[in-house]
Amino acid sequence: MGGGGIQSMQGTGEVRVKAFIHDSSRAESSGRPTIFPGAGRFRNVAKKLLYSEYLLLYLTLAYLLVATQLVPGLLSSTNLRNVLSNLFPLLVAAIGQSFVLITAGIDLSVTSVFACSSVVGGWIMTSNFGPRAGSGWSLAAGLLAMFVVAIVIALINGLSITQFEMPPFIVTLSTMTFFSGVALWLVQSRNIYHLPRLLVTIGKGSVVFVPYALLLTAALVSTAHWVLTRTVLGRWLFAAGYNAKAAVISGVPIGRTIIFAYVASAVCAALATVLLMGRLETASPIIGQRLLLDLIAAPVIGGVSLFGGRGKIQWVILGALFVTLMDNSLNLLGFSSFVIMMAKGGLILFAALLDVFRNASTVST
């Protein structure tokens, strides 16, 4: 089932291999032995581990160790390719989300960026614009339109939040609903097929075994890391998240900074849409809809603080990998999508709880 196809776009994923059925209780209990190594003498070690930045790395390794025992096919090249093709769009959108989370905001509207940019882009790429139809020009115009749509949505978010001081949650919830509706209405719930070959190559193709999607994602990851650690803008993003009042008084142009975060989120979402469309060879108003939970979960699991001001791109990568791996391995183990949802819910709650603990741990001193 490698490429995923339309099914995984609709997100059920149940159709995948169900060959490795194991005792579920055993899998649950052995899944995370490092977190709670019992009471008493392990307490200090456990506490150190919980607060450690490297916790996620240990968890991922431990999870891999256990999962490979239970799921022999986990590290097969077919499955790995599957994991990676799920990982790239998720990671790209998660990086955008991280920028917003760092400013102590949240962007729920990413799925509407998926939807709107997908149908607008797909429509332009497949339209008949006279002699230019089907040429590289229509692809370029389509891609450009996708990013324009994303930026428009981001500006509505950013301006509402900075100019009218509306809470990010409600602003982006509204834009998510509104623009998802717009996307459905534009194409009347129909999908658009026959996308340009070049787009499909971006989504699925490789150059000397290196997928284009990997190159794009790697470029984005390094740019994001560079912006956050090396530029004035990066410092401003963190300052806005730490303490917006103090940031304003210190001369940080907080409005522009926050708007930038939402634009970054939307532009990343548009890039994720390009990857999704290329992989699925489809433009759809419900593309990536089920990713919303995962793309917020990935940064949070990766230690980006929901209170703002904290977050590192390298851990977001691992967070996205962990979510994808968990999804994939539980799926291979034959769990239904319902159980996978429950497990993810638990994981996110755990990550958020850890965030609260980490935040509180230094306050008291």
Partner: protein
């Protein structure tokens, strides 16, 4: 005479700063006790101990001869102690009746559920309001009341909770004169009914008029206590301020120039400040003194561009601005250390290094990319200039530092941007003596470098110790300007209190 409350040897320290030391005096049953002292003398701390907001480190408070041990303000209320704060503690979104009865609403059972008995509540509230002379419907939402009415509702609430001792902390600061008279009439009536009260105020004339006994606090100690006949406004002022000077302040050898650095011209904002004019010169340290609510903090926020003003202009760094914004003010060479460093001064979770770098970031970057090494070097230099041991705390979140070191981080952050004018709003509040000295030393050093400093403080001594000139602001108006040669704590305090207090 029998006492209802007795303070016996109360002591309190905050972060190694002694706020109260061996405070002992009684509150006599059926009397109004006037509690006076400068800002920071310990009045509010003492009342917070009585009201159960904080606990004393040593000593006991006795009520009716029994030790009062409180864990929280609710327990104080249960013992009959009611605290009417400077900022009123009413819920503006609820009705008068609801405010009066929170948290003990009259209830009745309907279908086994304890529901609020609205009719009962309204009737009782009505009675309660009449007892403080308010003839209003209990259904009015508190937000719709004027400050005087709110004050009376607050008192009604205290009476409703069967208070026997009511603490008034600056109750008149937001009232008009007729409202004040109305409040005093009510307090006199309550006294004749046997209520005991503690009245804290800066308006000494009111204290003399209203109170039976007076207690003067200075530096956390009782310096005088007795019936009001023993006091006059003059005596109270000299008791409040008379302090020896010693070597608290570093010497400065440089003199201010005549070159203006910051000019404020006819600045007005209705209800806040009125037609303010003053100039800061290069190398000059100018103190700004005023009581709480005089408009001193509002004034400096306007200059920096955090609050708007209707009229006037700010001349700074070679240009004139009618509507400054912080970012632009900083570019023109202004620095602003805010009154509340936790809320507005620092990113508490960010590291020392990140905080120090924040203001001057752009000058250590080309096209938005930070020169890491250069920035780090500059941060290190600035940190050592304000005597922070950066090697040990570089990556540490500032919230782990002491108050004094936090304040030094704020100073380093502003000094790194090399400002021409520094506005310091209460830079020594809540920090220990050593750190205070360090702040004064830095002020001197900045003045020596030709920077102009506007030093806002509610402690006269430190202004006298550090400044070249002190401006006094009262009710939004500049009411006095005193040169160093004429410095006199009594005169400054007198100006700040206004004629009203010294009759």
């Amino acid at each position: 005479m029998e006492s209802i409350v007795e303070f016996d040897g109360i002591g309190k320290r905050f972060f190694n700063v002694t706020v109260l030391r061996d405070v002992s005096f009684p509150v006599i049953r059926g009397h109004i006790l006037g509690l006076v002292g400068e800002n920071g003398a310990g009045k509010s701390t003492l009342m917070n101990i009585l009201g159960g907001v904080i606990a004393a480190d040593s000593g006991v408070v006795r009520v009716d001869g029994k030790d009062l041990i409180l864990k929280n303000p609710q327990q104080a209320a249960e013992r009959g102690i009611s605290f009417i704060h400077q900022e009123l503690n009413l819920f503006p979104n609820l009705t008068i009746a609801e405010n009066l009865f929170i948290p003990h609403f009259p209830k009745h059972k309907i279908a086994g559920l304890g529901l609020i008995n609205r009719r009962d509540m309204r009737e009782q509230a009505k009675k309660c309001l009449l007892s403080v002379g308010l003839d209003l419907s209990p259904d009015i939402v508190v937000a719709d009341l004027n400050p005087g009415e709110r004050q009376l509702v607050e008192i009604a609430k205290a009476l409703n909770a069967d208070a026997r001792v009511v603490i008034f902390d600056e109750p008149t600061s937001s009232l008009s004169r007729p409202e004040v008279e109305r409040l005093f009439l009510l307090m006199n009536r309550l006294r004749s009914q046997g209520m005991s009260m503690i009245y804290i105020s800066h308006i000494l004339g009111d204290v003399l008029k209203l109170c039976d006994d007076i207690c003067v606090l200075r530096d956390g100690q009782v310096v005088a206590y007795g019936p009001k006949d023993e006091f006059s406004s003059e005596r109270m002022i000299s008791l409040m301020t008379g302090r020896s000077f010693e070597n608290l302040y570093p010497r400065r050898d440089t003199v201010p120039s005549d070159e203006p650095a910051l000019e404020v011209r006819s600045l007005s904002q209705p209800g806040v400040v009125e037609n303010l004019d003053f100039t800061l010169h290069r190398g000059e340290v100018v103190g700004l003194f005023g009581l709480m609510g005089s408009g001193r903090t509002e004034l400096v926020r306007m200059i920096f561009g955090l609050d708007t003003f209707e009229q006037g202009e700010i001349a700074l760094g070679g240009s004139v601005d009618r509507q400054p914004v912080p970012r632009e003010s900083i570019r023109r060479g202004l620095a602003f250390l805010t009154e509340d460093r936790r809320v507005e001064g620092l990113c508490m979770d960010a590291s020392v290094e990140e905080n120090i770098a924040l203001v001057a970031l752009s000058s250590f970057a080309s096209s938005g990319v930070i020169h890491k090494a250069r920035l780090r070097r500059a941060v290190t230099d600035e940190a050592s200039a304000v005597s922070i041991n950066i090697a040990t705390v570089r990556k540490q979140p500032v919230k782990t530092l002491s108050g004094g070191n936090q304040q030094k981080v704020v100073l380093a952050k502003w000094l790194l941007s090399d400002p021409a004018v520094l506005i310091l709003d209460e830079p020594t509040r809540g920090i220990d003596v050593g750190a205070k000295y360090e702040v004064y030393r830095l002020i001197n050093q900045c003045a020596g470098d030709g920077k102009a400093i506007l030093f806002v403080s509610s402690e006269i001594e430190e202004l006298i110790g550090v400044c070249d000139r002190i401006l006094v602001i009262r009710a939004g108006e500049m009411c006095d300007s005193v040169r160093r040669a004429e410095f006199n704590a009594e005169r400054i305090l007198r100006s700040a209190f206004g004629a009203q207090s010294v009759q």
